[in-house]
Symmetry: C2
Subunit: 255 residues, 2 copies
């Protein structure tokens, strides 16, 4: 790895390093007092202040303040970065098309500019995703409900693809919607759309069961499930926890 750093550089020297970085496809970081203008999907203006600006080799731009996880301004990968001088002030621009978006950063002062080459061939491995929850149910369908038989994942309906489609112990068509964390009304509405669509698709008076699988539900989501005749089963992506399932209509008798 190589690091080239300028401390409190003149604009001209900063520009040189930036243009070197654009050619070498390295990552550039700038610290200084700047103002930021954005125009594209929306429009924004950020008055002068101290920020950390990051220009990645893939065309990503990040402008970070000393607070928040989210950058105050940014540009997604694929953008074209350019830099120039205007009356001795360094100006960095990032543009893209489809949609047209443009971020302009005007520096009053520069405290540090660095060019870094980052070698990174590793991939992140992550556990606890919705996919893990799917695998858990497919590996042992009984954790969902005794006698459940998965038949398809991503089964298409007029309203979209269903996470798991199968039949219950009574051979009733069953739609399973998976969420890795506690769910609100949106997930209940999503499942409801799938059930409605599949009942139309099957064009029969046959009932389709809809089961929402998540660690837990909010009160309002639970009400929605009840009024729509949908069900809930508590399951987490982690295999550690055991399945504790409850049908909403049976709440009172269960407890």
């Amino acid at each position: 790895m190589t690091v080239s750093t300028l401390t409190a550089p003149e604009s001209e020297d900063a520009l040189d390093l930036l243009e070197t970085g654009f050619k070498q496809s390295g990552m550039l970081t700038l610290v200084g007092r700047c103002e930021v203008d954005y125009e594209g999907r929306a429009t924004s203006h950020l008055p002068p202040g101290d920020r950390l600006v990051i220009l990645k080799s893939d065309g990503t731009l990040l402008v970070h303040r000393d607070e928040q996880r989210t950058p105050v301004n940014w540009q997604p990968p694929g953008c074209t970065h350019t830099a120039c001088l205007d009356d001795d002030r360094l100006i960095v621009e990032s543009t893209r098309t489809t949609p047209h978006e443009e971020v302009t950063i005007t520096f009053d002062t520069l405290d540090q500019v660095s060019l870094v080459e980052l070698d990174d061939a590793s991939d992140l491995s992550l556990e606890g995703s919705e996919e893990d929850l799917r695998q858990r149910i497919l590996a042992d369908p009984d954790v969902l409900e005794a006698g459940f038989q998965p038949q398809m994942t991503e089964r298409e309906t007029a309203a979209g693809a269903v996470d798991i489609y199968g039949k219950d112990a009574d051979d009733t068509p069953t739609i399973v919607e998976l969420k890795r964390r506690r769910v609100g009304p949106d997930a209940a509405g999503q499942l409801n759309r799938y059930v409605d669509a599949l009942e139309r698709d099957l064009s029969a008076e046959r009932t389709v069961r809809g089961i929402l699988v998540a660690p837990s539900v909010t009160q309002r989501a639970e009400e929605l499930l009840t009024t729509e005749g949908l069900e809930f089963v508590s399951l987490s992506p982690e295999t550690a926890d055991s399945a504790h399932s409850t049908r909403l209509t049976d709440f009172e008798t269960d407890r």
Copy 2:
């Protein structure tokens, strides 16, 4: 603004600067070869590679690769950062509670460590949000539909708060759901939940109209609107376009 930078430092010197930064509540940046472990809402492991690590004074942690807009690992504001040495390797930890989450970064090599104080009192101003679309309709309800009368924003129903509630020219209760950009099935489902809930709330055979306002809709969302008896009106947050087209004649007669 003050910047203190160490280039290819020994672990001990890096640790000193980190602890200075933790006390001063400045922003710390580290560049080096490291591996990252995360445990909390999910679990992840990132094998060794070169990355840029940012520790903000508000407790935010960011681990950035040379690609992507999203950090490969992170911690939200409010976390506690600590650093220590293990067999001459620098280890940075970030923890929080509720929920318990922990990120551990183990550095093989350090190429640069910086401590920066960022003064930034400015606020971002942004135009083109859903709020702008709301203001546009409230300022001139006719852009939605001739005779529409807004009565409440954020009107509560059993399914949640409605963006704009009002009456149309025939005094029919009308729910307006606003989106600043092209919408998919989720927005149609959201509007549908509100309409269903309000019809139950009013407990009458009275029909409630539901109008989705957005620049455009996807095909599937349009189908959903149709089957649910909902409507769509094309409007954007920007006042420039349509105020121009729709109201120009009125403006002229007004003046």
